[in-house]
C-alpha cells in the first residue's frame, strides 16, 4: 500500500509537472481567481477557504453554518461553510434558496468517526463538495480526502469507500459509501435547467447554528445576507417529539426528498412532489399510483395508502437499500431508520378514507371535433 501510494505520488508529481502544475505559494484567504476559473482547481486547499490543510479553520470571510434538519447521508457528519465575496451579500428569500452573488462558495465536508455516538473522537474526512456561484450559474465540484486528512483532490468521477462505524444507535455497520460524481451532483441540485444549492433556505437556516447564535441574524450581521424580515419561516426540527407529527414529517420530506421531487426537480415527471409548499394530497402521494417505479413499487398499489404504511410504496422504498428500489437513489446505501419510523407514523395516522381523496372529473370532453 505504501509503495503504491509512493508510486502514485510520483506519478502525480510527474503528471502535474508535465501539464503545468498549480501555483505553489501558500494561499492567504479565498482566491477569487480560482473560485471563478472555468475549471475546478486540482486541490481543495488551492481555494484558500481554510486556514489549515485539514479544512477545519475557516479563513477570514468564511463562516460555518448548519441546517435545522440535515439530509440523511449514511450517518455522515457534515461541516458546512459559506464564503461570500467581501462587499457582497446574498438576497433573502422566504421560500427559495437565497440569491447568492457571483463568487460565493458553499463547502460541505462529509466525515465519519469510528463510533458515531462519540463523533469527535477519531473523526476523519471523506469528501468535500463545493458549490461555486460562477458568472453563468452554480458549478459543483467533488473533492476526495487522502487517508491522512491533509489534502482533498478533485475527483469528478466520485468514488466509493467501505466505511465501518458504530452507528448512533450503537450497532456495528459497514457502509458502502458512494461519493457522487459531478453529474450526480446535478441530479439532486437541479431546478429546471439550472443547478442550485439545497440547504441555504431561510426555513432550513433559521435556528442557532455552530456559533450559538441565530444564523439569519448572524449572516445579516456578518454582511452575508441582505433583506431578512423580522419574521422568518423555520422548519420543525424532525427529532423534536413535542412538535406535531405532520410538521416534522413535512420538514423531513422537504430536506430529504423535495430537491428531486418538485415541479422543476429531477423527479418532476413522477408527479410526486414533496416540497414544503405542496398541499394537494395526490401530489404528496396519497392514493397516487406509481409512475415509473418499476420494481421499486414492490407489491404496493399506491405511493401512500392512507392509514397503511406497510402497503405504501413510499415506505417500501425508504426501507430498502437496494439500487433500483431504494429512495433516495443517491446519497444513501443504508436505511434511515429514524426517518422511516417518522414516515410510517405519518402514513399510519392518515384517515383511511379512499372516497374523499378522489375527485370525479369535472367534465368528460366530447371526442369528435
Amino acid at each position: 500500500m505504501t509503495a503504491l501510494k509512493g508510486r502514485l505520488a510520483i506519478l502525480l508529481a510527474v503528471a502535474l509537472a508535465a501539464c503545468g502544475g498549480p501555483a505553489e505559494e501558500a494561499p492567504t484567504g479565498p482566491r477569487l481567481d480560482l473560485i471563478l476559473a472555468d475549471r475546478a482547481a486540482p486541490n481543495l486547499s488551492d481555494y484558500g477557504l481554510f486556514k489549515d490543510a485539514a479544512a477545519t479553520e475557516p479563513a477570514e470571510g468564511v463562516a460555518a453554518y448548519d441546517l435545522i434538519n440535515p439530509l440523511f447521508t449514511d450517518h455522515a457528519l457534515k461541516h458546512r461553510f459559506v464564503y461570500v465575496p467581501e462587499g457582497e451579500a446574498a438576497a433573502y428569500s422566504g421560500s427559495d434558496v437565497f440569491e447568492f452573488p457571483v463568487g460565493t462558495v458553499l463547502a460541505k465536508t462529509f466525515a465519519f468517526a469510528p463510533d458515531l455516538r462519540a463523533p469527535e473522537a477519531g473523526q476523519y474526512k471523506v469528501e468535500t463538495r463545493l458549490l461555486i456561484r460562477k458568472a453563468d450559474g452554480w458549478a459543483a465540484y467533488p473533492y476526495v480526502w487522502n487517508a491522512e486528512g491533509t489534502e482533498a483532490a478533485y475527483a469528478p468521477a466520485g468514488g466509493a469507500q467501505s466505511i465501518d462505524v458504530i452507528d448512533p444507535a450503537g450497532d456495528t455497520l459497514t457502509i458502502d459509501y458512494a461519493i457522487p460524481n459531478r453529474n450526480q451532483c446535478k441530479t439532486c441540485h437541479q431546478a429546471g435547467e439550472d443547478l442550485v444549492p439545497i440547504g441555504p433556505k431561510a426555513r432550513h437556516l433559521n435556528h442557532a447554528g455552530p456559533y450559538g447564535v441565530n444564523q439569519i441574524a448572524d449572516w445579516t450581521a456578518r454582511g452575508l445576507l441582505d433583506g431578512a424580515p423580522d419574521i422568518v419561516p423555520a422548519d420543525a426540527p424532525v427529532g423534536d417529539q413535542s412538535l406535531p407529527l405532520e410538521a416534522r414529517t413535512r420538514a423531513y420530506l422537504e430536506i430529504n426528498c423535495a430537491h428531486c421531487h418538485k415541479a422543476d426537480g429531477s423527479a418532476s415527471n413522477t408527479g410526486l412532489w414533496l416540497d414544503a409548499a405542496e398541499t394537494r394530497p395526490v401530489r404528496l402521494g396519497v392514493l397516487k399510483h406509481p409512475t415509473a417505479a418499476g420494481r421499486g413499487s414492490g407489491d404496493g398499489i399506491y405511493v401512500i395508502a392512507p392509514g397503511d404504511a406497510d402497503a405504501s410504496i413510499f415506505v417500501y422504498r425508504m426501507a430498502s437499500a437496494e439500487a433500483g428500489i431504494a429512495m433516495p437513489e443517491l446519497g444513501r446505501s443504508i436505511i434511515d431508520e429514524d426517518g422511516l419510523e417518522l414516515v410510517r407514523a405519518w402514513i399510519d395516522g392518515m384517515a383511511h378514507n379512499v372516497e374523499n381523496e378522489v375527485n370525479t372529473p369535472q367534465a368528460l370532453r366530447a371526442g369528435r371535433d
Partner: protein, 418 residues
C-alpha cells in the same frame, strides 16, 4: 477502515490533469486549447472511472468512442453535456454489464440536449436501462438494452426511457426483459420509434402522456402486451394525443405479465397486441397483428379513481384501418378471460369496452372508427359507464357509428436527417 478512496481521487486527478486540452490548470493559464472533437475511452485500466470522467468532462459536441469488449460497471453512468455522441463499436461488440451495480437508478442517464447514443449494449441494470430526461433532440440508435435472465419481476422497469423531451428518435434498438415497457416514451412531444425490436418485456413499446408520435417498422413480439398508447392521470403532462402506429409486426405477445402489481402495465392482460387507453387521436393502420391470445386491439377507458381535473379517462378519436389480423383472441387472459367464458371462450380481434360516460353523467362521443376489412371481428362490451360495473356487460358486434378523424401529419424531427 477506508479503502480505495484516495486512489480513486488521485487517479481521477491524473486523468483530469492530463486530459489534453481538458487540463485543470489554474485560471492564470490563459492559453485555451480548442476542444478535442473525439476521444476514445481505453479498454485497459479502470474503465468505469475513465468513462465516467470522459462523460463528465466532455466539451460540448464531443464524440466519445467506446472500445470493443465486455465491461463490468458498479454504478450508473450519466451525461449532462450538450451535443455529445456516445459511440460504441456495435451492439454485439461493446457490452456494458451492470449486474454488479450498487448505486444510481439507471444504467445511463442523459440530461442534456442533442445527444446521440449508438452502437452498444447495456445489460442487467438494477433500474431502468437508459433514461433521458429533458433531453431534446436525442437519438437512440443501434442499441441493445436487455436483462439476460429473461422475464423476471426483479428486472428494471424501462429499457429505453426518454421522458419530458421534445424530438425523440429511437431506431434499430432492441430491448428484452423490461419489467414495464421495453421502449417507453413519456410526457414528450414529437417522437419517432422505428425499425426496432421489443421482445420479452411486459409492454413492448409504450407511448404515454405524449403528443405526436410515429411508431413504424418495429417488431413487438413475445411481450405481455405489444404496443400501448396510454394517457394517465395525476402527472405533470396529461392529455396525450396524435399517435400513428403503422407497418409494425405485433405478434405472439403471450408472455406472462411479470410487472410489479402497482404499475399500470400490471393491468395489461397477457396476450394483447395493441391497447389504446384514454388517449386521443390514435391511428392504428397497416400492421400485422397475429397470434395474440387475448386480443388484437383493445380500446379502453382508464379504470381507476383519480384526482386530476384535467384528465379525460376515455379514449377518443381512434381509427383502426387496414390492419392484417390472424389468430388473435383465442384464449383471453385476465378480466377478458372471465368475460370470454360467458361468450364461448374466445373473443374477436378488436375489442372496445364501450365506456362513454362517468357514472350517471352524459354520454360523450368516443368516435371509434373501425375501418377494418368486413371479416375482422369486433366486439363492443357495452359497459357504458365508468367506473366499470361487471353487471352492465352488454356485448354487441356492431361497429360504432363514427367519423374517422383525419390522420395527423407525419412526424418530422428537428434532428432527423434520414
Amino acid at each position: 477502515m477506508i479503502r480505495m478512496g484516495w486512489i480513486v481521487g488521485a487517479s481521477a486527478l491524473v486523468l483530469a490533469a492530463c486530459g489534453g486540452s481538458e487540463s485543470d490548470a489554474p485560471a492564470s493559464d490563459t492559453a485555451v486549447a480548442p476542444p478535442i472533437a473525439e476521444i476514445t475511452v481505453g479498454a485497459e485500466g479502470d474503465f468505469q472511472t475513465a468513462l465516467l470522467t470522459a462523460l463528465i468532462e466532455a466539451p460540448e459536441g464531443q464524440t466519445i468512442n467506446l472500445p470493443e469488449g465486455a465491461f463490468e460497471l458498479t454504478t450508473g453512468l450519466s451525461l449532462d453535456v450538450d451535443g455529445v455522441t456516445l459511440l460504441g463499436a456495435g451492439q454485439d461488440k461493446t457490452v456494458l454489464s451492470f449486474a454488479g451495480q450498487t448505486g444510481a437508478g439507471e444504467g445511463l442517464l442523459v440530461t442534456s440536449d442533442d445527444v446521440t447514443l449508438a452502437g452498444f449494449t447495456l445489460q442487467d441494470t438494477k433500474g431502468d436501462g437508459i433514461k433521458s430526461k429533458g433531453a431534446d433532440r436525442i437519438v437512440y440508435r443501434d442499441l441493445t438494452v436487455e436483462w439476460t435472465g429473461g422475464p423476471d419481476e426483479g428486472n428494471g422497469a424501462y429499457g429505453v426511457y426518454p421522458v419530458e423531451s421534445t424530438d425523440v428518435l429511437v431506431e434499430r434498438v432492441t430491448v428484452r426483459g423490461a419489467s414495464d415497457a421495453g421502449i417507453y416514451v413519456g410526457q414528450s412531444r414529437n417522437i419517432i420509434v422505428r425499425d426496432s425490436l421489443a421482445e420479452y418485456n411486459v409492454a413492448g413499446v409504450e407511448i404515454e402522456n405524449s403528443i405526436g408520435a410515429d411508431v413504424y417498422g418495429n417488431t413487438m413480439r413475445h411481450n405481455a402486451g405489444g404496443m400501448l398508447v396510454f394517457d394517465l392521470p395525476d402527472l405533470p403532462m396529461v392529455g396525450g394525443h396524435s399517435t400513428r402506429i403503422f407497418n409494425n409486426e405485433i405478434v405472439d405477445n403471450n408472455t406472462r405479465n411479470f410487472a410489479p402489481p402497482g404499475n399500470i402495465v400490471a393491468n395489461v392482460p397477457s396476450g394483447t397486441g395493441v391497447i389504446i387507453m384514454a388517449n386521443e387521436n390514435v391511428h392504428v393502420f397497416e400492421n400485422q397483428i397475429r397470434n395474440n391470445r387475448t386480443a388484437g386491439v383493445l380500446v379502453t377507458a382508464y379504470q381507476d379513481p383519480f384526482a386530476d381535473e384535467n384528465y379525460n379517462p376515455l379514449p377518443r378519436n381512434v381509427v383502426l384501418r387496414a390492419n392484417a389480423y390472424e389468430n388473435n383472441g383465442y384464449e383471453p387472459q385476465g378480466v377478458l378471460g372471465d368475460l370470454s367464458a360467458l361468450m364461448g371462450g374466445a373473443l374477436p380481434p378488436v375489442i372496445w369496452d364501450g365506456v362513454d360516460r362517468w357514472g350517471e353523467g352524459e354520454a360523450v362521443d368516443v368516435n371509434l372508427a373501425v375501418m377494418e376489412a368486413e371479416d375482422v371481428g369486433f366486439i363492443n362490451l357495452g359497459f357504458g359507464a365508468y367506473p366499470l360495473d361487471p353487471a352492465a356487460l352488454a356485448p354487441s358486434p356492431t361497429r360504432p357509428d363514427a367519423e374517422a378523424k383525419a390522420e395527423p401529419d407525419p412526424i418530422t424531427l428537428a434532428h432527423d436527417g434520414a
